[in-house]
């Protein structure tokens, strides 16, 4: 498969207005950097980021990474959604996941594959070379980050387990364990969390099974020990703490679509033209920011890598 360079934001494309809108962000970011570390450059600070968790060894860089500066580790790990720990974005998931143990952990591969299996998480990862993928991450709530994920291309996993010709979709499931996920006692969502991809989407070179961020293992609140990353889709497609990958013939259900079918679809491709019923998707906040500082890009800026998969589809209907 042809691997194309990602189309990063070209500075020539940024309109004068958005530059104007970003002025506070620049001032804040530089002020924060000065205060936090006493004069090192933002880039140097970003490169040295982490949370003191175990370092992942032998991580290969990827040409699929964006050259944009990664967001602050502190922000990526303290502002996100993970309903199994707390409802809503904010520091709830971080605070409520302090005692979460991502071991022991099993991953089941089943359904329409020639080589189904139950793996211990470490055995599951072992055959593959870890890659760092710096991706834009766009939440359906109209905020975004740049996250240096570490993981394995999902296509590599799929080739190894040999899906049968009837397999057309992949369904992924989060662990169901009330002891480890306190919110699973409530009926806020239907548990366990389910997500799915078409097989060609799962095979796309961008699709990653992430086991780390910023060179370290994933913190609990970001989906330890293994989660899906599909950077051209809204964040809720990125099912966390996966225990099952099932190959199926018909389109699987996904949790948010079950919750509110008029607001969340199966595809959930980032699309500035198709609004969420309760807010516009035309712009976004690249956090930290008080106000929208970017225009949302079609497929979150990954058009070259993914648009061909949706040729001829009405993306208004298949939101």
């Amino acid at each position: 498969m042809l691997i194309l360079k990602p189309s990063d934001i070209r500075s020539s494309e940024i309109t004068p207005k958005s530059v104007y809108l970003r002025r506070r962000e620049f001032i804040q970011a530089s002020a924060a950097a000065l205060v936090a570390a006493g004069l090192p450059s933002l880039a140097a600070e970003a490169a040295a980021q982490g949370g003191g968790l175990a370092k992942l060894p032998n991580v290969r860089k990827s040409p699929l990474s964006t050259t944009e500066t990664p967001s602050l580790y502190e922000h990526v790990t303290s502002y996100n959604n993970f309903y199994e720990f707390a409802p809503g974005a904010g520091d709830g998931p971080k605070n409520n996941s302090k005692n979460f143990k991502p071991r022991p952990w099993k991953v089941k591969i089943d359904g329409l594959v020639s080589k189904p299996g139950d793996y211990d998480i470490d055995d599951f990862i072992k055959p593959y070379t870890l890659e760092e993928r710096v991706y834009r991450m766009r939440c359906v709530e109209a905020w975004s980050f740049v996250v240096p994920w570490v993981g394995i291309p999902m296509a590599d996993v799929i080739k190894r387990v040999e899906p049968m010709s009837k397999a057309r979709f992949v369904e992924m499931t989060t662990l169901l364990d009330i002891g480890r996920f306190p919110m699973q006692r409530t009926d806020v969502l239907q548990w366990p969390y389910l997500e799915g991809l078409r097989l060609d989407e799962a095979m796309n070179p961008l699709t990653l099974l992430a086991v780390g961020i910023y060179g370290e293992v994933l913190p609990a609140q970001n989906g330890a020990p293994i989660r899906l990353v599909t950077p051209w889709k809204y964040g809720f497609k990125g099912v966390k703490s996966i225990v099952r990958i099932r190959f199926v013939e018909s389109q699987p259900r996904n949790t948010w679509q079950m919750m509110a079918p008029s607001e969340y679809g199966f595809y959930a491709n980032v699309n500035p033209e198709v609004d969420h019923p309760r807010w516009s998707q035309a712009r976004e906040r690249r956090l930290p920011a008080f106000i929208a500082n970017r225009r949302t890009e079609m497929f979150n800026g990954y058009t070259e890598q993914v648009a061909h998969m949706y040729k001829g589809m009405d993306l208004r209907k298949n939101y």
Partner: protein, 198 residues
């Protein structure tokens, strides 16, 4: 200083604490990575809180016989307007950065915004007519107008209920609280009708 004056001063200071906490959080960089949304949530919550607190004044007075407490009511209502104004301004600035066309679209297309704006307009009208001159000029109509606070309480809860993604726990709590406070009024009205009939 009379006791109620002291209570008023303490209430005034306490009512400013949530706003002060936001200002403090701004300068200590402690409003999450998405401070616009955080401030919007906080000011919205405190608007609803002050509507509810101002609605407890009359039940408190009738249940305890502490008549002086009525002297807190206008101030508490004005704090609901104060936080409601901040909340509305977060939408103007953080959500839309003064772009009128986006705001109009929001109000027209999105029911939770429509209801939120209606709630704000009620609070605005009540704040405008909260001074002595307006009370005197409006006469009996003043009380009728200010019963709109019941509508604002209900529409405030609806606004909250419609904007959450999945977890209705918190708006449901507010619905119960406002429901109890309004039930007092319904009950008293019902009883006074009964007694006036007999």
């Amino acid at each position: 200083m009379t006791p109620i004056t002291l209570v008023r001063i303490l209430c005034f200071a306490a009512a400013l604490v949530p706003a002060a906490a936001l200002v403090y959080g701004f300068f200590t960089n402690d409003l999450t990575a998405n401070p616009g949304d955080y401030i919007t949530d906080q000011t919205g919550t405190w608007t609803l809180a002050f509507i509810a607190i101002s609605l407890t004044v009359t039940p408190l007075r009738r249940l305890t016989g502490w008549n002086q407490v009525i002297k807190l009511r206008r101030m508490l209502g004005l704090f609901a307007f104060f936080y409601g104004t901040l909340h509305m301004l977060t939408w103007v600035v953080f959500a839309h950065f003064f772009e009128v066309s986006f705001m109009v679209e929001d109000v027209v297309k999105r029911p939770f915004i429509t209801v939120g704006m209606a709630t704000f307009l009620i609070l605005f009208a009540l704040a405008l007519t909260s001074n002595r001159l307006a009370i005197r000029r409006l006469g009996r109509r003043w009380q009728t107008l200010h019963r709109l606070v019941y509508v604002a309480a209900v529409s405030g809860v609806i606004h909250f209920w419609w904007l959450v993604k999945a977890d209705i726990t918190v708006p449901r709590r507010w619905a119960v609280a406002i429901g109890v406070l309004l039930a007092f009024r319904v009950w008293w009205t019902y009883r006074s009708r009964l007694s006036s009939r007999s």
